[in-house]
């Protein structure tokens, strides 16, 4: 038996909106620790890892770990029917083939049940390593979203270079090029408007903007976003979801140099 009740039901809606374009089908794992998902996009370039900790829910019960395969678009269709202030409860039997979403309006006047059929998904579960990154940038999520959106209209690849002074996003396209630099500013009053950089080593990596823009759909979940980078490794774009958990996106870098003759 799995049961999870979330008073801030809107969060779940936002979570789903941020990942449904990246991944079509995915397994949600419900364990005593929490409600989590891990999935790669079809071309294995990016990975999304979601964790909603059990103690963040208002009620959480998972007798034994179960895995629920869902089509995220279909799940999103059902969650769309929930109001932003609704309380959402998820329920599933251990061996059942459906999951039930229950939406309660804040004043308890309206209660709706939606039952979604589960599917068998051949998941490729990956272990995600804990690593020390060469550079970690924390910045306002809305700023990051804006940068990605703006640059995508110029080019399709962004070069992110982090130095101790700031983080620079650059792109080149047919019509020209663009550079946006965000300086480290710890002096701002509100912590969520700060840009901070922790640096062990300068890093410079290229990424497909298409994916970053897709990640930026998680902006409504959090005020700040954290980018963690190391040479040749995937970038981690993390949005914290209050004290409930986090959503992390991993994106493999692009190969930069074009000089070499193609051998591949």
């Amino acid at each position: 038996m799995f049961e999870a009740r979330l008073v801030q039901g809107g969060l779940l809606k936002k979570v789903l909106d941020s990942i449904k374009d990246l991944v079509t089908d995915a397994n949600f794992d419900c364990s005593p620790n929490g409600f989590s998902l891990q999935a790669m996009d079809s071309s294995h370039v990016s990975l999304v890892a979601l964790l909603l900790r059990s103690d963040g829910f208002d009620h959480y019960r998972a007798d034994r770990p179960i895995s629920m395969g869902m089509n995220l678009n279909n799940m999103a269709k059902m969650l769309k029917c929930a109001g932003n202030d609704d309380i959402i409860t998820m329920k599933a039997e251990d061996a059942g083939d459906t999951v039930t979403f229950m939406f309660e309006s804040p004043n308890q006047e309206r209660i709706s049940d939606f039952e979604l059929k589960l599917m068998d998904i051949d998941s490729e579960q990956l272990g995600i390593p804990d690593t020390d990154y060469a550079a970690t940038v924390k910045m306002p999520a809305s700023e990051f979203q804006r940068i990605c959106k703006d640059l995508a209209s110029i080019g399709d690849t962004v070069l992110i270079s982090v130095t101790k002074d700031g983080v620079k996003f650059s792109t080149t396209g047919d019509i020209g090029s663009a550079n946006i630099t965000c300086r480290q500013n710890t002096s701002v009053d509100k912590p969520e408007e700060q840009t901070t950089i922790e640096l062990n080593e300068p890093v410079c990596l290229s990424f497909a903007l298409r994916y970053l823009n897709s990640f930026a759909k998680a902006t409504p979940l959090s005020h700040t976003v954290t980018l963690s980078m190391s040479k040749e490794l995937p970038v981690v774009v993390e949005y914290r979801i209050g004290d409930l958990g986090h959503i992390r996106f991993y994106l493999a870098p692009k190969i930069e140099d074009e000089e070499m003759e193609d051998e591949a």
Partner: protein, 1040 residues
């Protein structure tokens, strides 16, 4: 050496480095399990790879590499080749000297140690001692080289030898490039008192290597031979070494000193980027990025995909040479490797063998994948008749390729224009996006399933979903998979695999698999023929492949039979060059002369449930386009009919006008897609000419006479203008031999009113009969005469029928053997069917002079050239170039190359305002030259605009089947054919039809009056008359 030693807990092994004597590579294994290779100074050779110790260090943590020549410009031959060159050169020069040539001394430059193998070989080949310094001799004595005997080969005595060993810098500086020092050499020359001095400098530091393998520098009597002999590895060898070791990291040891920034070392490392184990270089992170369950998923990766199906069937080992193991699904790479191999040859037999080898591996390792594999080899998804299309346009593929490779669409377009094939383009693009985790390798089943899914995508967003599916596959592609996957998607594999070659190969593969290799060739060929026959009757791999796998070749006949609903490939006819030619081809057998209607070939199936399906000549399902025909057939068929298959021609008719036949062009204006009966504007009549299946019985093996007889039973309710029998006349050219007394037998066998038998020519029978009697009584000479007479008679009769056929508005005649060799041979262009068409008899004798004004980019074989060309006529009144046709035949390759180069120079940004056409070629040209073009006939066309307004208000004239004869150097574009010429030719050809009818009347009158043999003359007159006649007969134009 070659034995692992443990020093301070570190296991150290020394292995040969093929450098100078004593040089070794060091292999370290740390207690932690980390492995390192320091190759020291090393000359790579394939022998080193066989070393068992080195083999254990594949995938080492790092390799300290001898990067002396780590640059693509350092390519030099194998040591063996260089040694051979030195030895043979010196040997040759010595022989010349001995034969009275100039006396010569030789110098070989070496370091104190190293390059001994050159000296040994020179001493051996030239049978002479080599002068060395004492020190060098001492060194050589210490060495233990095979074939080295210092006492025999070397001397310290100047007088004993003409071959001196000198120090490396004696003849000049070698680094970083060679600068000769002729002074030293000249000195030696004087000392030794010889005419010429030849120096040999073995080194790898040779910029001169680019063009010439073994350059010689000369100054007066001194010559220096630069020999690319090095004891360091060349660039390619280094890469091969690294490829073999696949280390996590390469650490350069040479050429990176005083390099603070690490830039140089970084530049060096770039050369090995693809060879090092990238995933391991991200070890800390990605080692944990591992699949939870299937650890063995990479097994297929690691197996070397040597993919050598391009060997003969005998040499191919289906298990060992395959790139995967039993029990695993067949990787798509297996198919791609096979296709790649086929692409390299144009020889049919080798292609056939390659396909058979592909299938043999699958039969041996994963037989359940055979069906899908067979489809993928042809690049299809389902039997043709099911008509399932991929529905993937070039733009979707291009978008997916652009996204997978990160190349811009514009660049892609340029590459496409250059390479002409999307597959080659995709293959040439380097992927710029890393993945988190290598996708699972593509499998045959997976690719097939995805392609089916792509084909069945419907509705909104379907093109997006298709593109995503393609992208997913492209990301997973390895090696040549990209190329062939893309080619499959654009439905053009271009490797010479078609249904026929695949079916034959399938049968051979199955036979070899089931019965072993020791089979006579005849057995294989018989199997291939049997499978091919079965496929013609039942062109469905879905039925054929399981039958083959389960029952072998012998099972085919039982399981693959003609069934209503599964179309067979229609039988085709040979072309002829005129009546005499036809008669020769028919070899005197009885035949049927049948009207050749100008319509659309249709194979009409009626299933036991009386539903009707119609298939085109290419077995495409056209049922939905002809609901009216379906109704007509149901009405015509016998009520108790349990299924039939008809071969027929669908012809547009004008029912209101006495069922007059209409031109093919009008039929083609019918809607192509799905229509309902009441939407039909162009009425169609079915002219049935063959019956292939009736009530559970395939009739293909029966003779034509028998099949024709059964049509009456099958279709008792014929209705003029809806379903008719094709008009036909039976002609028997050998009455004497068959013992028939009535000479040329001619009887209308058609039951339609159109085919009403006309009175036979009574006068023709008599002389022949007489002749026959004489022949019987007299000698052979006379019999021959009679035969000649008979032939003339037949010819005359045939001419008459042909003219009637033209008059009836048909294309000509089909002549079919009735009794001998008269079975229905699916898909064969058989000798027993011959077509006699106006094109072949008369053709368009006059040519048109046209101007190329545009062209398309060629595809496939013609990639890189323009093809087809858009040709135009010149209208002096409107001062326009009006398009006439696209022309793509009659050109030689050389012509294409030249024309493309010439036209490129005249390319325009867009059409000139005075170019009139509805065609949209890829490029437009300045009108500058005139080509002479010949074609079959002229028709009115909606896109081409020649002589527009003269014959039809909007439509122009176009030339069918154009081919280029030559360039008219003598004509300017303004001298090109104009509307007057085109109109005249157009009228002339329509007049032929009407005139034919008229002359037929005349001929009949003549035969009735005069002696029978004269009957031929009026016809001939008639045809010559129509050519000379200047008057315009507008009869057929009015019909348009």
């Amino acid at each position: 050496m070659d034995t692992p030693q443990t020093i301070h807990g570190v296991e150290v092994t020394l292995v040969d480095a093929n450098h100078c004597p004593g040089a070794v590579q060091l292999l370290f294994r740390l207690p932690t399990g980390e492995r390192y290779v320091h190759c020291g100074d090393m000359r790579f050779c394939t022998r080193l790879l066989a070393d068992p110790h080195l083999g254990r260090f594949r995938g080492a943590n790092a390799v300290f590499l001898d990067t002396t020549y780590c640059n693509p410009r350092f390519t030099f031959p194998l040591q063996e080749e260089a040694i051979e060159y030195v030895a043979s050169t010196i040997e040759r020069l010595m022989k010349e000297s001995a034969a009275g040539g100039p006396s010569r001394a030789f110098l070989i430059a070496t370091y104190v140690i190293g390059k001994e193998r050159i000296l040994v070989e020179v001493a051996r080949r030239c049978r002479c001692k080599i002068l060395v310094t004492e020190r060098k001799l001492g060194v050589m004595r210490c060495l233990d080289l095979p074939g080295l005997d210092p006492a025999q080969m070397f001397t310290l005595d100047q007088s004993e030898s003409r071959v001196n060993v000198v120090t490396m810098d004696f003849m000049g500086e070698t680094w970083p490039y060679f600068r000769p020092n002729f002074v030293n050499m000249e000195q030696i020359r004087t000392e030794l008192g010889v005419d010429e001095v030849h120096g040999v400098v073995p080194t790898g530091w040779m910029y001169e290597m680019k063009r010439k393998a073994y350059p010689v520098r000369s100054k007066e009597a001194c010559h220096i031979h630069l020999v690319p002999y090095s004891e360091h590895s060349s660039y390619n060898e280094l890469r091969e070494y690294v490829r073999f070791l696949k280390p996590h990291k390469v650490i350069p040891t040479v050429g990176v000193h005083d390099d603070d920034s690490g830039k140089k070392s970084h530049a060096l490392l770039k050369h090995f980027r693809n060879l090092v184990d990238e995933t391991a270089s991200k070890a800390r992170f990605l080692s944990t990025f591992r699949r939870r369950g299937s650890e063995n998923s990479n097994a297929a990766d690691s197996a070397p995909g040597n993919g050598a199906p391009l060997t003969s069937i005998q040499e191919y080992d289906p298990v060992k040479m395959a790139c995967w193991q039993a029990g695993q699904p067949t990787p798509y790479l297996h198919i791609a490797n096979g296709l790649q191999a086929m692409e390299r040859t144009t020889k049919r037999l080798r292609i056939g063998d390659a396909i058979a080898n592909i299938f043999r591996s699958i039969l041996a390792l994963a037989p359940e994948d055979l069906l899908q594999a067979a489809y993928l080899v042809i690049g299809k998804l389902v039997p043709d008749y099911e008509g399932l299309e991929l529905n993937v346009g070039p733009s979707i593929v291009a978008a997916a390729v652009a996204e997978a490779t990160g190349i811009t669409r514009a660049k892609l377009r340029d590459m496409h224009n250059q390479l002409g094939d999307m597959g080659d383009v995709a293959q040439a693009c380097r992927h710029t996006q890393m993945t988190l985790h290598r996708p699972a390798p593509l499998t045959v089943r997976g690719v097939y399933r995805t392609l089916r899914q792509i084909a069945s995508e419907k509705g909104s967003g379907s093109s997006n979903r298709r593109q995503r599916a393609i992208l997913g596959m492209l990301r997973s592609c390895r090696e040549s998979e990209t190329k062939f996957l893309v080619r499959t998607l654009v439905q053009n594999l271009r490797v010479g695999a078609n249904w026929r070659s695949v079916i034959g190969a399938l049968a051979r593969a199955v036979v070899v698999h089931q019965e072993g290799l020791a089979l006579p060739k005849a057995r294989l060929d018989a199997a291939a023929a049997a499978a091919s026959n079965a496929f013609h009757l039942c062109p469905s791999l879905d039925i054929l492949v399981p039958a083959l796998v389960e029952g072998g070749v012998d099972e085919l006949e039982r399981r693959c039979t003609l069934t209503p609903g599964v179309p067979l490939k229609p039988m085709l006819a040979k072309i002829s060059e005129g009546i005499p030619d036809v008669l020769k081809q028919l070899k005197g057998e009885a035949f049927l002369a049948e009207y050749k209607y100008d319509g659309q070939r249709a194979q009409i199936h009626m299933l036991p449930d009386r539903s009707v399906r119609i298939f085109s000549r290419n077995c495409d399902d056209k049922t939905t386009a002809f609901p009216d025909v379906c109704e007509a057939i149901t009405a015509a068929a016998a009520a108790e009919c349990q299924g039939l298959v008809l071969d027929a021609e669908l012809v547009a008719v004008d029912r209101a006008n006495g069922n007059r036949l209409r031109a093919f062009q009008e039929l083609s204006t019918r809607a192509r897609g799905e229509v309902t009966t009441h939407q039909v504007l162009i009425q169609v009549c079915v002219f049935v000419f063959d019956l292939l299946y009736l009530d559970g019985q395939p009739l293909v093996a029966q003779c034509l006479r028998e099949r024709r007889a059964r049509i009456a039973t099958a279709l008792p309710h014929l209705r003029p203008g809806y379903v008719e029998l094709a008009t036909s006349v039976e002609i028997c050219p050998r009455p004497a031999l068959l013992g028939l007394a009535d000479g040329v037998v001619a009887a209308g066998t058609g039951t339609s009113p159109r085919a009403a038998s006309r009175p036979e020519l009574p006068s023709t029978a008599a002389p022949v009969q007489q002749g026959a009697q004489q022949a019987a009584a007299d000698a052979d000479v006379k019999a021959a005469q009679v035969e000649a007479k008979v032939e003339a008679k037949v010819e005359e009769r045939l001419q008459e029928v042909l003219l009637e056929a033209f008059a009836g508005g048909t294309e000509g005649l089909m002549l079919k053997c009735l009794d001998v060799g008269a079975a229905y041979q699916p898909s064969k262009r058989s000798d027993s069917w011959i077509k006699l068409k106006r094109d072949y008899c008369e053709g368009l004798r006059d040519s048109l002079d046209l101007v190329p004004i545009g062209a398309w980019y060629g595809n496939g074989r013609k990639a890189g050239w323009f093809s087809p060309f858009l040709l135009a006529a010149w209208d002096p009144d409107t001062e326009e170039f009006q398009s006439v046709c696209r022309c793509m035949s009659g050109f030689t390759d050389a012509f294409y190359t030249e024309a493309t180069a010439r036209m490129k120079a005249r390319q325009l940004a867009g059409p000139k305002p005075y170019y009139r056409t509805d065609e949209c070629p890829d490029v437009w040209f300045e009108a500058a030259e005139v080509w002479e073009i010949r074609g079959a006939d002229l028709t009115l066309s909606p896109v081409h605009k020649a002589a527009v307004g003269h014959l039809h208000p909007e439509r122009g004239v176009s030339l069918r089947f154009p081919r280029c004869i030559r360039i008219r150097e003598d004509k300017r574009p303004e001298d090109a054919s104009g509307p007057d010429v085109i109109c005249e030719l157009y009228h002339k050809q329509t007049r032929k039809m009407t005139n034919a009818a008229e002359s037929l009347g005349k001929a009949k009158a003549a035969t009735a009056a005069g002696p029978s043999l004269a009957g031929k003359e009026p016809v001939a007159e008639g045809s010559s008359e129509e050519d000379d006649d200047g008057g315009h007969v507008e009869g057929d134009v009015a019909r348009e």
